[in-house]
């Protein structure tokens, strides 16, 4: 049975393209084209619920995208809204008996960020630096993520770490499975603050991907959390569905 990371990977697969040949490398012009396509969508612009820190960091990283060294990753929602037909065909291949259930669930499916009203839960944008194999997630958590009064719940931190390292594994390894997630909480994060979730692909050993992550204050002076994770590549030789391509070059909505 597939593990949890496969689940996440499969979720991102909703954006599969039908006939386009998979890309093997992203040239500079291609990245700029992605970036431009990405900027055209509503949900990549700052939202009213974003605070000053979130907007400032969004602008900072968007500027870094100008030379092509960074790209803004499409939101989970954006990937999922594409080509559900291709996707359900793919799902059927992995879960032959599950297609009816999946289709039913897809219609009422909500992504973990969607369970909240604007600004009350997870507000985040992810940026990817291919050369450094790094993903930075700018994350503004809302008041409905509380644990201890006045602070984020450990699970909220775990969730955003999981989303970030998971995405890092996907862009490097395609379809992946989370095997392990280890989180060390150094300092509790005050509720409603904006933080940087900085994830790094450390190494690939055969089908194993090792991704580490730090959660820091936006000036990088406070280290709130450190995490390491292990992902397993599922069927690395199967090139028919290029998940990396779906994530890095999504079709326009």
């Amino acid at each position: 049975m597939l593990g949890r990371g496969a689940a996440r990977a499969l979720g991102a697969l909703r954006g599969l393209r039908g006939g386009a040949p998979p890309a093997r490398s992203l040239g500079l012009s291609r990245r700029l084209l992605s970036f431009k396509k990405v900027l055209d969508k509503d949900h990549f612009l700052p939202k009213p619920c974003w605070g000053k820190d979130m907007r400032r960091l969004f602008d900072q990283f968007t500027k870094k995208c100008e030379d092509g060294s960074w790209i803004q990753l499409p939101s989970y929602e954006h990937i999922s809204s594409q080509r559900s037909q291709d996707f359900s065909a793919f799902i059927h291949a992995y879960f032959p008996s599950a297609s009816e259930v999946i289709n039913e669930k897809l219609s009422q499916a909500q992504l973990f960020t969607r369970g909240f009203e604007d600004g009350m839960g997870f507000e985040y944008v992810m940026f990817y630096n291919e050369a450094e194999k790094r993903i930075v997630c700018v994350f503004q958590g809302g008041p409905h993520l509380q644990g201890m009064p006045g602070f984020f719940h450990g699970g909220a931190t775990a969730t955003i770490i999981d989303a970030t390292v998971g995405m890092n594994a996907i862009v490097s390894g395609g379809i992946v499975m989370t095997a392990n997630l280890n989180i060390n909480f150094k300092s509790p994060i005050p509720l409603c603050s904006t933080v940087l979730v900085n994830s790094q692909l450390d190494k690939i050993e055969g089908r194993k991907l090792f991704v580490s992550c730090k959660v820091q204050s936006i000036d990088e002076k406070i280290l709130y959390t450190e995490a390491t994770s292990l992902f397993i590549m599922l069927e690395p030789k199967k090139k028919k569905y290029d998940l990396k391509e779906a994530v890095l070059n999504p079709l326009p909505a």
Partner: protein
């Protein structure tokens, strides 16, 4: 907002570092230990009469497995020393009458804050769960049914939602057993995905208490124990709450 956040962080910086610990945390002074016993913590946590709404009660969204196991545990609360824990919309309600130690109480009260596991208010859409606690065995069992809002891959719960449920069960257990309050670390080995709308049973136990830290472990599986969803462990730091 950020200023307050920094102030809280700076306050933490005034605390001594535990040897070998990554975080600066208050040292428990045995001489001024609050002396709160497990029994007193439990009775405060589970008030007989309260105006706070208890969300850990069956509703129409609960699947038959969840209802069945819930009834089994309700029986055990009468005979085997298990206690059903209430679940309020915020931890402030759970520690009513107490407050966090000064070093951590610097952050402002937000009237609209909710605990993440009770943030999704539509029945059946989010974290449907109830925790049963056994004081003498230092164990908890959490019945968890993830709703569609917790979906990661289509039809299955997001890994972060299980991590959240684990942290929550660890944290309530650690608090009742030994005033464990702050999560120091959590380590999860995922085995299988949990289908949305189905029951996952989290079995948590306290393995040891040492140097102001509680060590807990958890196995998450189906009701019949035939499928293991994940195995995890957590370390919590003891902190005394102060009288308000």
């Amino acid at each position: 907002m950020m200023r307050r956040g920094f102030r809280a962080a700076a306050t933490l910086g005034r605390l001594r570092a535990l040897p070998g610990a990554p975080c600066l945390l208050p040292i428990r002074n045995p001489a001024t230990a609050s002396g709160s016993s497990m029994a007193s913590r439990i009775s405060r946590f589970c008030p007989e009469k309260t105006d706070f709404k208890d969300f850990a009660l069956p509703n129409a969204s609960w699947c038959p497995d969840m209802l069945g196991l819930y009834q089994e545990f309700l029986e055990k609360t009468k005979t085997d020393g298990w206690i059903k824990l209430p679940s309020f919309k915020s931890n402030r309600e759970h520690i009513h009458g107490l407050k966090l130690p000064t070093e951590l109480a610097d952050t402002p009260e937000k009237s609209d804050s909710r605990i993440i596991t009770r943030s999704i208010q539509v029945e059946g859409q989010g974290y449907e769960h109830v925790i049963f606690f056994n004081p003498s065995e230092k164990k908890s069992v959490c019945l968890f049914q993830p709703g569609p809002y917790l979906e990661g891959p289509p039809g299955f719960a997001h890994g972060g939602s299980l991590a959240t449920m684990m942290d929550e069960t660890f944290s309530k257990t650690a608090y009742l057993v030994g005033e464990g309050l702050l999560t120091l670390s959590i380590s999860i080995r995922f085995k299988n995905m949990i289908p949305v709308g189905s029951l996952a049973v989290l079995n948590v136990s306290v393995d040891k208490i040492e140097d102001q830290k509680l060590y807990l472990s958890c196995i998450t599986q189906t009701r019949d124990q035939k499928t293991v969803y994940a195995k995890s462990s957590g370390v919590f730091f003891q902190l005394q709450l102060e009288q308000e």
